[in-house]
Symmetry: C2
Subunit: 525 residues, 2 copies
């Protein structure tokens, strides 16, 4: 039987075991938040875990591609949401998959889906497992068992078309593997979500992931030239074309389908020349109102900055990018072909014209950018450390039009802040950054940090999250800009999704997955 | 009963009756093509037309919104494809709708769909009627009758959000009406398809129309913030958000649905500040190979020209933009905020670096641009004049990746040229321009001009078109980049569309249109 859990990868939390905070660091970071216990929750040892017994046996012909090993099952039980980490820390692995499969070809996936359909087994496609919305956790009680379908054995760049600047890449490839394989050609996919190291192409496609760019090519969607998807009724392959007006886009049905309509196995992705010219700067604002106006001017200027992140005062302070209660706007321009200083200067001027201030020496340009970037990559590890101290630490994100941007920012902060206080009995932090900006609106990204009560953290967070979702729904701001829906966002998604579209999607699901094996509970019931 | 046929609009051909070529002009233009008859086909008078009797009567409560008047039925029988014009000129109006409806509200559309479902009447949504792919022609024999649902009574800009730069616009608004209503706000939708004057927002959305921009915002799809669609099972309304990762995009299902899934009634569209800075230039190339390489460099440069049209030698000669058998590249840059001369200079330099030549005095810059632009807008009238002389004149368009761009160009010209010669017995012209370019490939647009045999033109064209579609299919170039599928592209579309996606789309259709009343035969059987 196959088995693939790497001891370098944390089975219960974010990223690599070597990067995980020590107990002492957990205590130190926990001391910043009044009211937390004095010691971190211990990390359960794999050998101490008790998993429900596996209810199914794999098909004989493919048994060598399946694993029932405890590390594999434990590591594939959850994604990496706060609520996943807390449950794992408690040793609660009730939704563990009965089996983990590691197929090496489309043919094997076809066989697994056929077998699952015949035996009423749920199949949950799994890439890097970095979902923060319950996207890879099987909660079905209608199936005889569940298989986590780990695609990471299919991880190669299969073909590079240097003329059209595109590559055929397998779904199980992690971000760094893709970039390493493209580098010799001088190309980059230039899609850098926060999870870059620990997420795969297939996951990005299935969840409409958001990447590095703050403008223009924000989502993986726009990088897709064509896709191959194994559905239970056959393989869907769209043609490689730069654009098409031939009916509704097939790719756009599978983008964001979160494993509910098929298993994405490979795609042709648009590449870019590696950027040579880069420049960045930061601008500070005394008030968030001014900052929002400045960012709107930048977003509507047609200057298309590669980076345009607005950190509100709380976020700026937390990441070390800002001081004195100011909001900080980090701007970046880049190009493979042309110097970008002039464009950056135009962007900075625009920000200054809207009330931005040049930052004091030592806080300008790359230093703020760098301090923010390293905080950004460390954040999930800090989150796990705080979770072990029974803090509540989680993020949620949205997008709205500019006419309501400040209202959404202020209302969410006020209402979620009030919910935190009511639910935890103490004030917490609700910080915000704008991760992506569009001519018609920003994508605000909120971080909640509060002291939880040990043993009660999950219920507390679920209540806070419900309040956040209700607030976003009332404001008609999307339930997710790039984290996807999964199981955790279903209530908000169901309210947002137009009912006729829901009917169409249900019908499409029934047509493609007649035995209802694919990721049950995601998007469609 | 309502009636809306304007005597200013040609019922049989393109555009305005006042712009139609005189008989003498038809003869003059026909003289350019050897082997045509010496006199044009007469244009049938409306009073001489014989239409099949109307088989159905409208619902009583809405009778005042329906017309059985001959000019309305005749004017709504076809779109404006070459094959439509030829049939209209012959007085062949066999597929005339039984009734034409002119609803003024969504409620009326709901009532009409309910009535149609109950009585098994086909409903064909109709905007400007400029389809060149048989998109508005009802060929069903399974229905008790057909209604052309003319949406042009719903033609207002309902709301403008100046902060987010977006407007809520009714589907029946024609291009100029939209621009006129946005002008006082300083905004433009900046979507200028060739049919701009004679097509509507709803038509653009339903067909994924291609507009003015050669790069970035090429299709109307990317301008859509949200949509309202009346389906037989309810109204679908997506939220106004700049971007969302919440499941597959609802809007992307209805974009390109060509009236088969619902009736688009209004949408929030992203606007832009009106451009102030504009600059254009043209560059010539001795060979098309060189020109294609230069255009690829431009498309992959990240400079995003607003205009980037490559005219092959035949196209350049025909439109008066080029001479001496050279290919001509027309480049344009524009901005509402920043001078664009420097960017244009970079674009021109790039073209020169790839073998382009500065054009002689008097053929540079705006003169070539202007001569091409006016030819572009006159083209459909010329087409109709030539059609009256029994010439075969039609266009088709596609998109492919750069690695195959020159091959597609050369192969299509060779094979369609050979088909023309074999079918008509004489050589014709197969010219090409690239209308839009992407980092991974161009959208080539072909024009066929050949001498037909009077009475046989249609069969000849259908054979040529079949050869073209077979060629594109073999080369895996899309059956349409922005003309849509309609009924004419169904064979090519059915070969291109992945079968699982077809199954999903059929299921979605059944869910949304359970009585199969909406535009039968389009996209789905």
């Amino acid at each position: 039987m196959a088995g693939a859990h790497s001891p370098e990868r944390s089975w219960w939390g974010w990223g690599k075991t070597g990067e995980v905070l020590s107990d002492a660091d957990c205590v130190a970071i926990g001391a910043l938040l009044p009211g937390l216990p004095s010691a971190p929750l211990p990390v359960p040892q794999l050998e101490d875990l008790v998993l429900p017994p596996s209810r199914i046996t794999p098909p004989n012909a493919l048994a060598h591609r399946f694993s029932v090993a405890l590390p594999d099952r434990a590591g594939h039980t959850y994604g990496k949401a706060y609520r996943d980490v807390v449950r794992a820390l408690r040793g609660d692995l009730a939704p563990a998959p009965d089996l983990v499969a590691f197929p090496r070809s489309e043919d094997e996936i076809v066989d697994i889906l056929d077998w699952a359909g015949e035996h009423r087994v749920a199949v949950v496609p799994y890439g890097g497992g970095s979902s923060v919305v319950g996207g890879v956790e099987c909660r079905s009680t209608d199936h005889r068992g569940a298989v986590s379908l780990d695609l990471t054995a299919m991880h190669r760049v299969l073909e590079v078309d240097s003329v059209s600047r595109a590559a055929r890449i397998q779904a199980g490839a992690f971000g760094p593997v893709i970039e390493n394989q493209l580098r010799p050609y001088g190309f980059t996919l230039r899609h850098f979500p926060q999870s870059f190291e620990f997420s795969t192409l297939g996951g990005w496609l299935a969840t409409r992931a958001g990447g590095h760019y703050a403008t223009l090519l924000t989502h993986i969607d726009d990088l897709v030239e064509s896709m191959r998807v194994v559905t239970p009724v056959g393989i869907s392959e769209s043609w490689r074309v730069p654009s098409s007006g031939a009916g509704p886009s097939p790719d756009r049905l599978f983008l964001g389908s979160e494993g509910a309509l098929g298993v994405i196995t490979e795609a042709w992705l648009r590449l870019q020349d590696r950027p040579v010219y880069k420049a960045s700067a930061s601008v500070s604002f005394a008030t968030m109102e001014n900052a929002v106006e400045a960012v709107r001017a930048v977003a509507q200027s047609g200057l298309h900055p590669a980076n345009c992140r607005l950190l509100d005062p709380g976020e700026a302070a937390l990441s070390g990018a800002g001081r004195h209660g100011e909001a900080v706007l980090v701007l970046g321009a880049e190009s493979a072909h042309h110097p970008v200083e002039a464009r950056l200067a135009e962007l900075v001027t625009l920000a200054h014209d809207h009330g931005g201030a040049a930052r004091p020496r030592g806080e300008r340009g790359d230093s703020a950018v760098e301090s923010w970037r390293s905080a950004f990559l460390r954040m999930p590890y800090m989150r796990d450390g705080l979770a072990r101290m029974s803090a509540i630490v989680e993020t949620f994100e949205t997008a709205c039009t500019w006419d309501r941007a400040f209202e959404v920012y202020a209302t969410v902060r006020a209402e979620v802040g009030a919910a935190v206080e009511e639910i935890t009995g103490a004030r917490g932090a609700v910080n915000c950054r704008f991760t992506h900006v569009y001519p018609d609106g920003p994508a605000p990204y909120f971080t909640v940090v509060a002291a939880g009560r040990r043993g009660n953290e999950l219920a507390m967070w679920d209540d806070i999250k419900s309040a956040a979702m209700a607030c976003l729904t009332r404001l008609r701001a999307t339930v997710t800009h790039h984290h996807a829906v999964g199981r955790d966002h279903r209530p908000g998604y169901d309210r947002q999704r137009p009912e006729p579209f829901a009917a169409a999607l249900r019908a499409a699901k029934t047509a493609l997955d007649p035995h209802d094996v694919l990721n049950p509970g995601v998007l469609i019931d």
